[in-house]
Amino acid sequence: MRKGTLEYCVLALLRERERYGFELVRTLGEIDGMVTSEGTIYPLLRRLRDEGLVDTTWQESGSGPPRRYYRLTKAGREGLAVFYTEWSRFRDAVDELLAAGRKR
Protein backbone atom coordinates (compact mmCIF):
# COMPACT_ATOMS: atom_id res chain seq x y z
CA MET A 1 0.00 0.00 0.00
CA ARG A 2 2.88 2.28 0.88
CA LYS A 3 4.30 1.76 -2.56
CA GLY A 4 1.04 2.66 -4.27
CA THR A 5 0.58 5.85 -2.29
CA LEU A 6 4.12 7.18 -2.74
CA GLU A 7 3.48 8.43 -6.25
CA TYR A 8 0.50 10.48 -5.05
CA CYS A 9 2.64 11.97 -2.29
CA VAL A 10 5.02 13.13 -5.03
CA LEU A 11 2.13 14.63 -6.99
CA ALA A 12 0.77 16.29 -3.83
CA LEU A 13 4.14 17.91 -3.13
CA LEU A 14 4.03 19.43 -6.60
CA ARG A 15 0.49 20.81 -6.28
CA GLU A 16 1.59 24.17 -4.92
CA ARG A 17 4.77 24.74 -6.86
CA GLU A 18 7.43 23.04 -8.93
CA ARG A 19 10.40 21.52 -7.13
CA TYR A 20 13.69 20.04 -8.16
CA GLY A 21 14.48 16.38 -7.70
CA PHE A 22 16.77 16.73 -4.71
CA GLU A 23 14.20 18.77 -2.80
CA LEU A 24 11.41 16.27 -3.53
CA VAL A 25 13.54 13.33 -2.50
CA ARG A 26 14.78 14.97 0.69
CA THR A 27 11.24 15.88 1.75
CA LEU A 28 9.91 12.36 1.15
CA GLY A 29 13.02 10.76 2.65
CA GLU A 30 12.48 12.62 5.90
CA ILE A 31 8.98 11.23 6.43
CA ASP A 32 9.38 8.17 8.61
CA GLY A 33 8.54 4.91 6.88
CA MET A 34 7.71 6.53 3.54
CA VAL A 35 10.61 5.20 1.42
CA THR A 36 13.29 2.55 1.86
CA SER A 37 16.01 4.94 0.71
CA GLU A 38 16.35 8.24 -1.11
CA GLY A 39 17.69 6.65 -4.27
CA THR A 40 14.61 4.48 -4.78
CA ILE A 41 12.49 7.58 -5.49
CA TYR A 42 14.27 8.43 -8.74
CA PRO A 43 12.88 5.46 -10.72
CA LEU A 44 9.40 6.58 -9.64
CA LEU A 45 10.03 10.15 -10.82
CA ARG A 46 11.13 8.73 -14.14
CA ARG A 47 7.93 6.70 -14.46
CA LEU A 48 5.69 9.64 -13.57
CA ARG A 49 7.38 11.53 -16.36
CA ASP A 50 6.91 8.60 -18.80
CA GLU A 51 3.21 8.56 -17.93
CA GLY A 52 2.85 12.30 -18.41
CA LEU A 53 1.73 13.00 -14.84
CA VAL A 54 4.65 15.39 -14.36
CA ASP A 55 6.96 17.16 -16.73
CA THR A 56 10.38 18.61 -16.21
CA THR A 57 12.28 21.73 -17.11
CA TRP A 58 15.92 22.61 -16.73
CA GLN A 59 16.53 25.72 -14.72
CA GLU A 60 19.70 27.58 -13.96
CA SER A 61 20.78 27.48 -10.35
CA GLY A 62 22.85 30.06 -8.56
CA SER A 63 25.67 27.58 -8.13
CA GLY A 64 26.62 24.57 -10.21
CA PRO A 65 24.94 23.11 -13.28
CA PRO A 66 21.23 23.61 -14.13
CA ARG A 67 18.69 21.55 -12.18
CA ARG A 68 15.82 19.43 -13.36
CA TYR A 69 12.56 20.84 -11.98
CA TYR A 70 9.39 18.76 -11.78
CA ARG A 71 5.90 20.17 -12.15
CA LEU A 72 2.40 18.75 -12.27
CA THR A 73 0.71 18.35 -15.67
CA LYS A 74 -3.03 18.49 -16.24
CA ALA A 75 -3.18 14.69 -16.20
CA GLY A 76 -1.22 14.66 -12.96
CA ARG A 77 -3.60 17.11 -11.34
CA GLU A 78 -6.61 15.01 -12.38
CA GLY A 79 -4.96 11.79 -11.19
CA LEU A 80 -4.26 13.37 -7.82
CA ALA A 81 -7.88 14.54 -7.49
CA VAL A 82 -9.20 11.04 -8.22
CA PHE A 83 -6.81 9.52 -5.73
CA TYR A 84 -7.77 12.06 -3.12
CA THR A 85 -11.49 11.16 -3.18
CA GLU A 86 -10.71 7.43 -3.19
CA TRP A 87 -8.21 7.78 -0.40
CA SER A 88 -10.58 9.83 1.80
CA ARG A 89 -13.34 7.26 1.39
CA PHE A 90 -10.96 4.40 2.14
CA ARG A 91 -9.38 6.17 5.10
CA ASP A 92 -12.78 7.00 6.62
CA ALA A 93 -13.95 3.41 6.23
CA VAL A 94 -10.80 2.03 7.87
CA ASP A 95 -10.99 4.62 10.66
CA GLU A 96 -14.58 3.68 11.34
CA LEU A 97 -13.75 -0.03 11.52
CA LEU A 98 -10.80 0.57 13.81
CA ALA A 99 -12.86 2.80 16.11
CA ALA A 100 -15.74 0.28 16.24
CA GLY A 101 -13.30 -2.50 17.11
CA ARG A 102 -11.98 -0.52 20.03
CA LYS A 103 -15.38 0.20 21.55
CA ARG A 104 -16.21 -3.46 21.93
Binding site: E38, G39, Y42
Partner: protein
Protein backbone atom coordinates in the same frame (compact mmCIF):
# COMPACT_ATOMS: atom_id res chain seq x y z
CA UNK B 1 35.48 20.33 -0.72
CA UNK B 2 36.37 16.83 -1.84
CA UNK B 3 39.45 14.73 -1.48
CA UNK B 4 40.64 11.76 -3.48
CA UNK B 5 39.36 9.41 -0.77
CA UNK B 6 35.83 10.80 -0.77
CA UNK B 7 35.78 10.91 -4.59
CA UNK B 8 36.76 7.26 -4.62
CA UNK B 9 33.84 6.38 -2.33
CA UNK B 10 31.39 8.11 -4.65
CA UNK B 11 32.95 6.56 -7.76
CA UNK B 12 32.78 3.11 -6.25
CA UNK B 13 29.14 3.60 -5.31
CA UNK B 14 28.23 4.82 -8.81
CA UNK B 15 29.99 1.94 -10.50
CA UNK B 16 28.16 -0.53 -8.23
CA UNK B 17 24.92 1.19 -9.14
CA UNK B 18 25.78 0.99 -12.82
CA UNK B 19 26.37 -2.74 -12.46
CA UNK B 20 23.13 -3.28 -10.55
CA UNK B 21 21.18 -1.47 -13.27
CA UNK B 22 22.92 -3.30 -16.10
CA UNK B 23 19.79 -5.12 -17.30
CA UNK B 24 17.81 -1.87 -17.74
CA UNK B 25 17.48 -0.23 -21.16
CA UNK B 26 20.45 2.07 -21.73
CA UNK B 27 18.50 5.34 -21.73
CA UNK B 28 16.66 4.62 -18.49
CA UNK B 29 19.79 3.45 -16.74
CA UNK B 30 21.68 6.56 -17.87
CA UNK B 31 18.96 8.80 -16.56
CA UNK B 32 18.68 7.18 -13.13
CA UNK B 33 22.46 7.33 -12.75
CA UNK B 34 22.47 11.00 -13.79
CA UNK B 35 19.73 11.82 -11.27
CA UNK B 36 21.49 10.02 -8.45
CA UNK B 37 24.90 11.50 -9.32
CA UNK B 38 23.31 14.93 -9.14
CA UNK B 39 21.60 14.03 -5.86
CA UNK B 40 24.90 12.96 -4.31
CA UNK B 41 26.60 16.12 -5.56
CA UNK B 42 23.97 18.35 -3.95
CA UNK B 43 23.95 16.37 -0.71
CA UNK B 44 27.73 16.74 -0.45
CA UNK B 45 27.55 20.40 -1.35
CA UNK B 46 25.19 20.87 1.57
CA UNK B 47 27.76 19.35 3.90
CA UNK B 48 30.59 21.56 2.70
CA UNK B 49 33.82 20.01 3.95
CA UNK B 50 33.09 16.29 4.18
CA UNK B 51 34.96 13.36 5.67
CA UNK B 52 34.89 9.83 4.28
CA UNK B 53 32.49 8.85 7.07
CA UNK B 54 30.09 11.64 6.11
CA UNK B 55 30.24 10.66 2.47
CA UNK B 56 29.40 7.08 3.43
CA UNK B 57 26.43 8.36 5.40
CA UNK B 58 25.17 10.28 2.36
CA UNK B 59 25.58 7.15 0.20
CA UNK B 60 23.80 5.07 2.86
CA UNK B 61 20.82 7.38 2.68
CA UNK B 62 20.77 7.12 -1.10
CA UNK B 63 20.57 3.38 -0.51
CA UNK B 64 21.60 -0.08 -1.63
CA UNK B 65 22.17 -0.09 -5.42
CA UNK B 66 20.39 -3.43 -5.68
CA UNK B 67 17.34 -1.97 -3.91
CA UNK B 68 17.32 1.00 -6.32
CA UNK B 69 17.57 -1.43 -9.23
CA UNK B 70 14.72 -3.57 -7.84
CA UNK B 71 12.58 -0.46 -7.46
CA UNK B 72 13.45 0.64 -10.99
CA UNK B 73 12.44 -2.73 -12.41
CA UNK B 74 9.12 -2.76 -10.59
CA UNK B 75 8.29 0.90 -11.32
CA UNK B 76 9.29 0.73 -14.96
CA UNK B 77 7.75 -2.69 -15.60
CA UNK B 78 10.97 -4.48 -16.47
CA UNK B 79 10.71 -8.18 -15.67
CA UNK B 80 13.02 -9.49 -13.01
CA UNK B 81 15.61 -11.84 -14.50
CA UNK B 82 15.80 -15.02 -12.48
CA UNK B 83 18.98 -17.06 -12.71
CA UNK B 84 18.53 -20.85 -12.81
CA UNK B 85 20.89 -23.80 -12.38
CA UNK B 86 21.79 -23.49 -16.06
CA UNK B 87 24.05 -20.46 -15.65
CA UNK B 88 26.65 -22.19 -13.44
CA UNK B 89 26.58 -25.15 -15.83
CA UNK B 90 27.18 -22.80 -18.77
CA UNK B 91 30.19 -21.26 -17.01
CA UNK B 92 31.64 -24.69 -16.15
CA UNK B 93 31.17 -25.88 -19.74
CA UNK B 94 32.80 -22.75 -21.17
CA UNK B 95 35.82 -23.36 -18.93
CA UNK B 96 36.21 -27.14 -19.09
CA UNK B 97 33.80 -28.29 -21.81
CA UNK B 98 36.57 -28.09 -24.40
CA UNK B 99 38.15 -31.20 -22.89
CA UNK B 100 35.10 -33.18 -24.02
CA UNK B 101 36.11 -33.12 -27.69
CA UNK B 102 35.12 -29.49 -27.86
CA UNK B 103 31.43 -30.40 -27.88
CA UNK B 104 31.07 -29.47 -24.22
CA UNK B 105 32.32 -25.97 -24.95
CA UNK B 106 29.81 -25.55 -27.77
CA UNK B 107 27.03 -26.63 -25.40
CA UNK B 108 28.29 -23.95 -23.00
CA UNK B 109 28.04 -21.33 -25.74
CA UNK B 110 24.47 -22.39 -26.52
CA UNK B 111 23.49 -22.11 -22.84
CA UNK B 112 25.28 -18.76 -22.61
CA UNK B 113 23.26 -17.28 -25.47
CA UNK B 114 19.98 -18.78 -24.22
CA UNK B 115 20.25 -17.25 -20.75
CA UNK B 116 18.40 -13.98 -20.11
CA UNK B 117 20.82 -13.16 -17.28
CA UNK B 118 23.69 -12.05 -19.49
CA UNK B 119 23.79 -9.02 -21.75
CA UNK B 120 24.94 -9.21 -25.35
CA UNK B 121 28.31 -7.90 -24.26
CA UNK B 122 28.68 -10.72 -21.72
CA UNK B 123 27.70 -13.23 -24.38
CA UNK B 124 30.24 -11.95 -26.88
CA UNK B 125 32.92 -11.96 -24.20
CA UNK B 126 32.08 -15.52 -23.15
CA UNK B 127 32.15 -16.86 -26.71
CA UNK B 128 35.01 -14.91 -28.25
CA UNK B 129 37.58 -14.13 -25.55
CA UNK B 130 38.95 -17.69 -25.41
CA UNK B 131 37.15 -19.99 -27.87
CA UNK B 132 37.41 -23.53 -26.51
CA UNK B 133 38.15 -22.44 -22.96
CA UNK B 134 41.02 -23.96 -21.00
CA UNK B 135 41.25 -26.89 -23.40
CA UNK B 136 42.61 -24.66 -26.14
CA UNK B 137 45.86 -24.57 -24.15
CA UNK B 138 46.34 -28.21 -25.23
CA UNK B 139 46.61 -27.15 -28.87
CA UNK B 140 49.46 -24.89 -27.93
CA UNK B 141 51.29 -27.81 -26.34
CA UNK B 142 50.80 -29.71 -29.56
CA UNK B 143 52.64 -27.10 -31.66
CA UNK B 144 56.24 -27.44 -30.38
CA UNK B 145 56.06 -31.26 -30.34
CA UNK B 146 55.88 -31.29 -34.10
CA UNK B 147 59.00 -29.28 -34.69
CA UNK B 148 61.50 -31.21 -32.64
CA UNK B 149 64.90 -31.23 -34.24
CA UNK B 150 66.93 -34.39 -34.38
CA UNK B 151 70.53 -34.76 -35.33
CA UNK B 152 72.34 -38.04 -35.71
CA UNK B 153 76.01 -38.06 -35.08
CA UNK B 154 77.61 -41.20 -36.41
CA UNK B 155 81.29 -41.77 -36.74
CA UNK B 156 83.61 -38.79 -36.98
CA UNK B 157 81.43 -35.93 -38.11
CA UNK B 158 78.31 -36.78 -40.01
CA UNK B 159 75.57 -34.49 -38.93
CA UNK B 160 72.06 -34.75 -40.18
CA UNK B 161 69.54 -32.22 -39.24
CA UNK B 162 65.94 -32.29 -40.11
CA UNK B 163 63.59 -29.49 -39.44
CA UNK B 164 60.50 -30.72 -41.18
CA UNK B 165 57.33 -30.43 -39.12
CA UNK B 166 56.98 -34.20 -38.73
CA UNK B 167 60.52 -35.41 -38.38
CA UNK B 168 61.35 -38.78 -39.92
CA UNK B 169 62.21 -41.35 -37.30
CA UNK B 170 65.94 -41.37 -36.71
CA UNK B 171 65.99 -45.09 -37.37
CA UNK B 172 65.58 -44.38 -41.07
CA UNK B 173 69.33 -44.44 -41.31
CA UNK B 174 70.67 -47.80 -40.22
CA UNK B 175 71.96 -47.33 -36.73
CA UNK B 176 75.66 -48.02 -36.50
CA UNK B 177 77.18 -49.00 -33.20
CA UNK B 178 78.66 -45.68 -32.28
CA UNK B 179 75.92 -43.52 -33.66
CA UNK B 180 74.37 -41.05 -31.29
CA UNK B 181 70.96 -39.64 -32.00
CA UNK B 182 70.17 -36.39 -30.34
CA UNK B 183 66.71 -34.97 -30.32
CA UNK B 184 66.50 -31.51 -28.99
CA UNK B 185 63.25 -29.78 -28.35
CA UNK B 186 65.10 -26.53 -28.02
CA UNK B 187 64.87 -26.33 -31.78
CA UNK B 188 62.06 -23.75 -32.04
CA UNK B 189 64.18 -21.13 -30.32
CA UNK B 190 63.72 -19.41 -27.03
CA UNK B 191 61.63 -16.63 -28.50
CA UNK B 192 59.08 -18.99 -30.02
CA UNK B 193 58.92 -20.93 -26.78
CA UNK B 194 58.31 -17.77 -24.82
CA UNK B 195 55.56 -16.76 -27.21
CA UNK B 196 53.88 -20.16 -26.81
CA UNK B 197 54.18 -19.93 -23.05
CA UNK B 198 52.65 -16.45 -23.14
CA UNK B 199 49.81 -17.83 -25.27
CA UNK B 200 49.10 -20.54 -22.67
CA UNK B 201 49.13 -17.96 -19.89
CA UNK B 202 46.76 -15.77 -21.93
CA UNK B 203 44.38 -18.67 -22.47
CA UNK B 204 44.31 -19.58 -18.79
CA UNK B 205 43.99 -15.98 -17.61
CA UNK B 206 41.47 -15.09 -20.33
CA UNK B 207 39.17 -18.04 -19.61
CA UNK B 208 39.36 -17.40 -15.88
CA UNK B 209 38.64 -13.69 -16.23
CA UNK B 210 35.69 -14.31 -18.51
CA UNK B 211 34.32 -16.98 -16.11
CA UNK B 212 34.67 -14.57 -13.19
CA UNK B 213 32.88 -11.76 -15.06
CA UNK B 214 30.03 -14.07 -16.08
CA UNK B 215 29.85 -15.46 -12.54
CA UNK B 216 29.67 -12.02 -10.99
CA UNK B 217 26.71 -11.13 -13.16
CA UNK B 218 24.91 -14.30 -12.01
CA UNK B 219 25.66 -13.44 -8.38
CA UNK B 220 24.35 -9.95 -8.88
CA UNK B 221 21.16 -11.21 -10.54
CA UNK B 222 20.62 -13.59 -7.59
CA UNK B 223 21.09 -10.76 -5.10
CA UNK B 224 18.63 -8.64 -7.08
CA UNK B 225 16.01 -11.38 -6.80
CA UNK B 226 16.58 -11.51 -3.03
CA UNK B 227 16.36 -7.74 -2.69
CA UNK B 228 13.17 -7.43 -4.70
CA UNK B 229 11.62 -10.19 -2.57
CA UNK B 230 12.53 -8.22 0.55
CA UNK B 231 11.03 -4.95 -0.69
CA UNK B 232 8.05 -6.35 -2.57
Amino acid sequence: MSTDATDREVDRYLSNLNRSLSDLPHGKRQEIIEDITEHIRLALEELGESSVAQVREVLDRVGDPDAIAAEARSRLGIPQVRPTALEPIAIALLLFGGFLMGVGWLAGVVLLWMSPVWSRRHKLLGSLLVPGGLASALFVFAIPGQVSYCSTISGPATVQASGSPVSPPPFATPPSLNAVTQCASSGPGTLTKLALLALIVLIVVGSTVSAVILGRRVGQARRAVDVSRRFA
